[in-house]
């Protein structure tokens, strides 16, 4: 076989058949399912008289529409209620495991997959959700698909694919204090652009990536799609094995030992070649803040909002002007002068226990600015439970944050957690598109630490010089 990259190893292990033109029938090990992108897939199965090939290779959970306030009264939005009961009914009909709204294991699909040991290294994993790239943190080939392909995987456990290209993104050196995996991925997107990864699977390598915890690697891989990449990968190591060990759906005993050996063999061979290479030096990375309407419109916290007049390229200039108009920002103002109205700590990017610990550290003993409304939405019921055991909920509440039930919440605002027109939010989520958090809402993407500090001060602050 010769030297292979991590991607090539996983891909080759999943080829069911390959046509002479390279069209590949790729086996899919696991599928996560949520309420928004699955109803039409189940309906398709019914209309064709088909049933899921391996119902237990899927796991379903409602996350996009669920209320994050008291759930004992059910869901007030009738359409959301129908979508969630449809998922529950479909799972019951087709025998797919389902964690309902009252289940402690309920949460954001990309949080609960790893949490339950449903996500394992070396797997192919799909979901009707673009942030499926998150699971690449385990050295699993994981990517988002549309509803037709959700149905395809349910019916056949396969997808028809063409082999993508590969890109190595190497981040060497040391990451400065106060910089997080979120800052690294935002800096990467700022460098290669939101279309920079189109048609490619990215493998993140280098000392800084190795130093990240599994949760940090999930944050990193989560936003691969924001660079346009098909998927993001980090090769499995002892940290990966330790994280997976003992989880409810992980292998046990002898099988685990067998799996561990296979997982640790997955790393890219020396001499293997990627199609493209991007290199960053950790020392060059600062806390990041987006100023515009896509994740590539990003700058350092001590930087300024761009001035369209300084931009030569006509297309870039007009896109920048349009973004500033939408965001209600004057050209050239310092990022730290941007005043905010809301803070959202949550989403599949940054709602895990380590994210909440970091944010809590920044708000402990402080008060949320009087003009800011701030909320924390844990990624799952189990994350929420652990945070409460550690007393983090008390720290957040005492500082003036709302402490909510788990779900996608204001990352995409399909439930009641919505910005009103013109409101400006420091958000730990992944997309700052127009209207993403509510029509007319203005989103700035930041790390949990940056969001927490902004909540206290009412504007962005350079946490490197902020008095914690």
């Amino acid at each position: 076989m010769g030297s292979q990259t991590l991607f090539e190893k996983i891909w080759n292990q999943h080829v069911v058949r390959e046509e002479p033109d390279g069209t590949t029938l790729l086996y899919i090990d696991r599928q996560l399912v949520h309420e928004v992108t699955s109803p039409q897939a189940f309906e398709g199965l019914r209309l064709a008289g088909r049933s899921p090939r391996r119902p237990l290779a899927a796991l379903a959970v409602p996350d996009h529409n669920v209320p994050t306030t008291d759930r004992s009264q059910g869901i007030s939005d009738p359409m959301s209620a129908v979508q969630i009961s449809t998922l529950e009914n479909n799972c019951a009909e087709f025998g797919i495991p389902y964690y309902g709204m009252q289940d402690i294991r309920q949460g954001i699909v990309h949080v609960i997959g790893p949490e339950q040991g449903f996500t394992l290294p070396g797997m192919t994993i799909v979901c009707g959700d673009s942030h499926t790239s998150t699971h690449g943190a385990f050295g699993a080939l994981a990517f988002g698909i549309g509803t037709s392909e959700v149905e395809h995987v349910l019916a056949t456990q396969c997808l028809v694919q063409k082999r993508p290209q590969t890109m190595e993104i190497r981040v060497e050196g040391t990451l400065p204090d106060y910089c997080s995996p979120k800052d690294v991925i935002l800096a990467i997107i700022g460098r290669i652009g939101i279309g920079g990864g189109i048609g490619q699977v990215v493998e993140y390598t280098g000392a800084i990536i190795r130093s990240f915890s599994m949760e940090g690697r999930m944050t990193l891989c989560n936003m691969s799609i924001e660079a346009g990449a098909r998927a993001g990968l980090v090769s499995p190591d002892e940290k990966t094995v330790e994280y997976v060990k003992g989880r409810p759906l992980s292998p046990q005993g002898e099988t685990f030992e067998q799996a561990r050996k296979a997982w640790l063999d997955l790393s890219t061979d020396s001499g293997a070649r990627y199609d493209n290479l991007v290199e960053l030096q950790g020392e060059d990375i600062s806390p990041q803040v987006t100023w515009g309407t896509n994740p590539g419109m990003v700058t350092d916290v001590n930087g300024t909002v761009p001035n369209p007049a300084d931009i030569e390229d006509e297309k870039v200039r007009s896109a920048t002007q349009r973004a500033l108009d939408y965001m209600g920002l004057q050209p050239s103002i310092p990022v730290c002068d941007i005043q905010i109205d809301r803070v959202f700590i949550g989403s599949c990017t940054n709602s895990r226990i380590e994210d909440l610990r970091v944010a809590a550290k920044y708000v402990q003993g402080k008060r949320v600015s009087g003009k800011v409304k701030a909320m924390v939405v844990p990624g799952s019921g189990l994350v929420k439970q652990q945070a409460e055991e550690e007393g983090l909920d008390r720290i957040f509440r005492e500082a003036g944050f709302e402490w909510r039930e788990p779900g996608c919440s204001m990352c995409l605002a399909m439930n009641a957690d919505v910005l009103t027109p013109g409101e400006r939010c420091a958000s730990t989520s992944n997309r700052n598109f127009e209207g993403r958090q509510g029509k007319g809402g203005r989103t700035h993407l930041v790390s949990p630490a940056m969001a927490a500090a902004a909540a206290v001060e009412g504007h962005f602050v350079d946490i490197r010089s902020w008095n914690v």
């Binding site: 069911v16 058949r17 046509e19 033109d21 069209t23 029938l25 086996y27 090990d29 928004v36 992108t37 109803p39 039409q40 309906e43 064709a48 088909r50 090939r53 391996r54 119902p55 237990l56 290779a57 996009h64 979508q83 394992l120 070396g122 009707g128 959700d129 673009s130 990517f143 988002g144 698909i145 549309g146 509803t147 037709s148 392909e149 149905e151 395809h152 019916a155 056949t156 456990q157 396969c158 028809v160 939101i194 279309g195 189109i198 048609g199 346009g228 098909r230 992980s250 292998p251 099988t255 896509n294 896109a319 995409l412 399909m414 027109p421 997309r431 598109f433 127009e434 029509k439 007319g440």
Partner: protein, 207 residues
């Protein structure tokens, strides 16, 4: 899926790059459990201005584009969310073909699942088409999938690449799942091999 062979239609312009699927169909329209009726949500936040009035400059508010079947747009079209509601909404409006310099991967894939042909042309070709659309009241082109060419009224012919397998499925309007199920034996053979080699992947099967 409706087959796609050749299409002659009016071109509607959306001269922006990096159009994300949150714009193509905002989240408030994703609560449906059906595939149809989604044109209500198509570019809903761009169609109207902050005061609620319709933006007369937006293509879908102009009567000349009411019957448009071809959308002309900028690079990285369809980036962001994987929502198939985006191609469903375009299809519901009547769009069967999209011309752009590049597409986001998941959206590109989703188009083929719904009989919408995404065509990648060069930046220069796209610019030429924008110039012509702007200068004419109604501008039509013919997209021929068999020949893999866009035929424009000035006698020019812009060729494009398309994956042979996808092309075949589009030309015949094939059901992708039925095609895969023809390989049932290969899938079963793969599963038994894999279950033996890496049993933890098959926690659902008795060994």
């Amino acid at each position: 899926m409706q087959a796609f062979t050749t299409l002659t239609g009016t071109v509607a312009p959306l001269n922006r790059g990096d159009v994300d699927t949150d714009q193509i169909i905002p989240k408030q329209y994703l609560k449906t459990i059906h595939r149809t009726g989604l044109k209500e949500g198509l570019f809903a936040d761009w169609r109207s201005r902050p005061d609620g009035s319709l933006d007369p400059d937006f293509f879908s508010n102009q009567s000349r584009y009411r019957d448009a079947t071809i959308l002309l747009t900028g690079e990285n079209f369809g980036c962001g969310s994987s929502r198939e509601h985006a191609p469903w909404a375009l299809l519901d409006y009547g769009i069967r073909c999209i011309l752009a310099p590049s597409f986001a991967d998941i959206f590109y894939n989703n188009c083929f699942q719904n009989g919408i042909l995404p065509v990648v042309l060069t930046v220069q070709e796209i610019q030429t088409l924008f110039d012509r659309v702007r200068s004419q009241n109604i501008y039509q082109v013919t997209v021929n999938l068999v020949q893999q060419a866009v035929l424009v009224s000035e006698g020019e012919r812009y060729t494009f690449d398309v994956d042979p397998f996808r092309k075949d499925c589009m030309l015949k309007g094939l059901d992708g799942i039925a095609l895969t199920l023809q390989h049932e034996a290969a899938i079963s053979a793969y599963e038994s091999h894999r279950a033996h080699q890496d049993p933890w992947l098959f926690h659902d099967q008795r060994r």
